[in-house]
């Protein structure tokens, strides 16, 4: 197979080439230019901030009426909010001029995964979570992103942090309810050290104790001095006394305990290795090479988790530009790449249903581990046929436009068997079917 580093830049590190782009780029220069703080921001101003959302939810909770009706109305509102957010995120992905930054935003959003499959309030907040806790830090510090995620109501609710009560706190002594380790465990296992990162069950418990009191303020107590409170520290839930995490003693310090724990975890060498492995798996190969992982982990560790430096270091890995290993597009990335190739900018509810049927709805992974990142997880029989369905549906939307099929073939995909593909293309009855066949072909599923 002919490997073109420009195609690798557009597909492997981007969200799919558009006809006409290939000739204009110097691969690494084009990618490096995207490494700037604002590049990962979704500019859509019509979406609600977390504060506005918490405020609206608190207001809704305080209106009278039957609890049942209120719950129903809230669920409906959550679905609508999520639908708007997803369509906006898809539109942004299909049109952005900085697709490498967008890929990173999507990577980190999935790393700090929340899921709308669980608690209903997560649906209201999922989009705002990604826009406010993840995107601003894509080229910032890993620690800041971890902290922003830890303090966001979507995460606090999703992983039950709001239900965790220090057994010896004032609230704990009073009503006998206790610790919920869910968030603390995932913070260690999925967000920082990794499952083999060298912590024990006792560390999970100690970290959970340090985090007690971290909760969502505005929902229960409404505004504080006129301000909605997405995050608050509730001292009455906080476990008193010193704690020991990873053999280090932390004196009692209220909210600061959690912050100090997160700072320590983010600087731990296991975290550097864990993050590096995931990044290399995402951008380079399902089975990461040790040299690639070491190089990225080294930069992560040396810079104290500076994600700007880490992102630039990824671009220095020649294995991604010249290696023969391919990466399989996830369902979301397939739809986005197809839309970019066809210059379809807007999506409809049918697209969302298609993503659902391929088990890749936005912000809805089956577990806090987020969605998988390898071909094994995505190339199941049913999904492949659904990609063919989708290719047909998407090309129908380009009817009447003069889409350049030759350009899509030549400028957007690496083709493994050009003669076979061209021969079969030639047999198609019309241009739309040719176009659909290109997008549904195995070559287009890889990047």
């Amino acid at each position: 197979m002919q490997i073109d580093p420009r195609l690798r830049a557009l597909n492997r590190f981007g969200l799919g080439a558009r006809p006409g782009e290939l000739g204009q780029i110097d691969p690494k220069g084009w990618l490096r230019a995207q490494v700037q703080p604002t590049a990962a921001i979704n500019p859509d101003k019509s979406l609600l901030t977390t504060e506005a959302m918490i405020d609206a939810l608190a207001a809704a909770r305080n209106t009278g009426g039957m609890a049942q009706d209120r719950r129903q109305a809230m669920r409906k509102q959550g679905r609508e909010m999520a639908g708007r957010e997803v369509l906006s995120a898809l539109r942004h992905a299909a049109t952005t001029q900085t697709p490498f930054a967008e890929r990173l935003a999507r990577f980190w959003s999935n790393h700090f995964a929340i899921s709308m499959q669980g608690e209903p309030l997560v649906s209201h907040l999922a989009g705002a979570y990604e826009r406010e806790a993840i995107r601003p830090h894509v080229f910032g510090r890993f620690e800041d992103m971890t902290l922003a995620s830890a303090m966001h109501p979507a995460m606090l609710i999703y992983l039950d942090q709001t239900r965790s009560i220090g057994p010896n706190s004032r609230a704990g002594r009073k009503n006998g309810r206790g610790l919920n380790e869910n968030y603390a465990r995932e913070l260690l296992e999925l967000h920082t050290l990794g499952v083999d990162g060298g912590y024990t069950q006792d560390d999970v418990r100690q970290l959970a104790l340090m985090l007690t009191g971290w909760t969502v303020g505005g929902l229960a107590r409404g505004r504080n001095g006129g301000e909605p409170l997405p995050f608050s520290f509730a001292d009455r839930l906080h476990e008193p006394g010193a704690k020991i995490l990873l053999q280090r003693r932390f004196d009692a310090a209220g909210e600061q305990e959690g912050r100090r724990a997160i700072a320590m975890l983010c600087r731990h060498p296991s975290t550097a290795r864990f993050i590096a492995t995931k990044l290399v798996r995402h951008f380079v190969a399902d089975r990461p090479q040790q040299a690639d992982v070491d190089a990225i982990a080294h930069v992560f560790q040396r810079t104290g988790g500076d994600l700007r430096a880490v992102s630039l270091a990824l671009l220095e890995r020649d294995s991604a530009f010249y290696g023969t290993e391919r990466k399989f597009r996830t369902p979301q990335d397939f739809i986005i790449a197809a839309a970019r190739a066809l210059r379809v900018n807007d999506f409809d509810r049918a697209t969302l249903r298609a993503l659902q049927s391929m088990r890749h709805a936005f912000w809805s992974p089956p577990s806090p581990a987020g969605y998988g990142d390898t071909v094994q997880g995505w190339a199941d029989p049913d999904s492949l046929l659904r990609r063919a369905d989708l290719a047909k549906a998407l090309t129908r939307r380009t009817r009447g436009r003069n889409t350049d099929i030759g350009a899509i073939l030549a400028e957007t995909m690496e083709v493994a068997n050009p003669s076979a593909l061209v021969q079969i293309l030639d047999q198609q009855p019309d241009r739309n079917t040719q176009l659909a066949l290109l997008l549904a072909s195995p070559d287009f599923q890889w990047r």
């Binding site: 039957m66 049942q68 129903q72 499959q117 669980g118 608690e119 869910n182 995932e186 399989f328 659902q356 049927s357 088990r359 089956p366 577990s367 806090p368 581990a369 071909v375 094994q376 190339a379 199941d380 029989p381 049913d382 999904s383 492949l384 046929l385 659904r386 063919a388 369905d389 047909k392 549906a393 493994a416 068997n417 076979a420 593909l421 079969i424 047999q427 198609q428 079917t433 659909a436 066949l437 549904a440 072909s441 195995p442 070559d443 599923q445």
Partner: protein, 394 residues
């Protein structure tokens, strides 16, 4: 080139001996078990008291209030229980011993959260902690080898089927007839891809097994889905070289509002379930059916009392159905706790009298000859103290 149709492509793919690295490519596998098992999950908490109706309980009418069925709407099963009108298509199966209704079971952890309860029911654990795999997948793992053939029908891969063993998925495709040529051409391209050839072949095989080419596979909506998905499942499992463990799921059971009586909202859904189960059976040969067990389960029961909206809220003890040629049915399995207010769990829910895992273990042990150690440690971890129910399966 048109001459190469889907069947001949499949033939060519088999002859070529493609590596079966990914999904269980059903056409290649040799089943070492011919026992079949289907797990049907009713998401949203099906009201067990509205399905297997304890009309003989002296407190039934008073406890249920406006949701109590009239006696002559029910099919009498024994002195205590009657089948809801919607389930009456299954009355003959009950009489012939193929239906075993179960009352008063619950997952091992008290929660009224759908999310937590479904997660427990699907992971097979006793707490809602994020297990990465489900008990169906672990069953496939224990069975191992060529017999490990699972398929998830209809929707996303449920947690119960997630895990280390690759599981096939099938759902009615939106592809309409007229697409055969397109798919054939695509097949030729996929056939050249070393990684994707196999799952693509499996997808076409499943389509074939599911229905004849001319029957079309367009997705049905609403209650019509039951029949379509059950029938497809029946075809997959009946095939001599087909899957052996299937999962199916249906949502829409969370009847907080306007649950209704005969032919009401819930009853129509129960009727679709009954029709679906019969459609499943209709796809089986007599021999394959005699080796089949279907378990229909839900995450928990609902409140005994009617709520203020003519519905019911999240409860505890619930009902399940065992159905199949291998089931020892014709009786209701229950250790009936009673509906008087002092007999209820937390004064509101049916008191659970056994653990859902006892039922599942009993079925798996008999169907697949699983050892107690496998069931207690691998399939349902840390469940040594939870004995399998005996005598469920012939």
């Amino acid at each position: 080139m048109r001459a190469l149709n889907r069947r001949s492509f499949l033939g060519a793919a088999c002859a070529g001996g493609l590596a079966t690295t990914f999904a269980p490519s059903l056409s290649f596998a040799r089943a070492s078990t011919d026992r079949r098992f289907v797990f049907v999950l009713l998401r949203g908490a099906m009201d067990g008291l509205h399905a297997i109706v304890p009309a003989g309980d002296p407190h039934y009418r008073a406890a249920r209030g406006s949701l109590a069925y009239a006696a002559n709407d029910l099919t009498r099963l024994d002195g205590m229980f009657g089948l809801a009108p919607g389930l009456s298509p299954l009355a003959a199966s009950y009489r012939s011993g193929e239906l075993l209704p179960v009352q008063g079971l619950a997952i091992p952890y008290r929660t009224r959260s759908h999310f937590d309860a479904q997660s427990i029911l699907e992971t097979g654990l006793d707490k809602p902690v994020g297990a990465a795999s489900g008990w169906l997948n672990r069953t496939l793992e224990v069975l191992g080898g060529a017999s490990s053939q699972g398929i998830a029908v209809g929707g996303p891969l449920p947690l119960s089927m997630q895990g280390r063993v690759p599981v096939a998925t099938w759902a009615p495709s939106a592809l309409r007839s007229g697409n055969e040529a397109f798919i054939d051409d695509l097949s030729q391209l996929y056939n050249l891809d070393p990684v994707l050839a196999d799952p693509f072949t499996a997808a076409l095989t499943l389509q074939e097994q599911a229905m004849d080419m001319d029957a079309g596979g367009t997705s049905k909506r609403g209650l019509a889905q039951f029949e379509q998905l059950f029938a497809a499942t029946g075809r997959f499992l009946n095939a001599a070289d087909g899957a052996r463990i299937a999962s199916l799921e249906f949502s829409g059971w969370d009847t907080h509002v306007g649950q209704g009586l005969a032919n009401g909202t819930l009853d129509r859904r129960l009727n679709a379930l009954a029709t679906g189960l019969l459609a499943l059976k209709s796809q089986f040969s007599a021999d394959a059916w005699s080796k089949t067990v279907v378990v229909v389960a839900t995450e928990f029961g609902r409140t005994v009392a009617t709520n203020g909206s003519g519905g019911t809220d999240h409860g505890t003890g619930g009902a399940a159905l065992l159905y199949g040629g291998a089931v020892r049915g014709g009786r209701v399995l229950a250790d009936w706790p009673g509906l008087a207010s002092h007999q209820l769990f937390e004064q509101r829910d049916l008191r659970p009298t056994f653990d859902t895992r006892q039922l599942l273990k009993g079925v798996l042990a008999a169907q697949f000859d699983l050892r107690a150690a496998e069931l207690d440690r691998l399939v349902f971890p840390d469940s040594q103290g939870v004995p399998a129910l005996a005598g469920l399966v012939r």
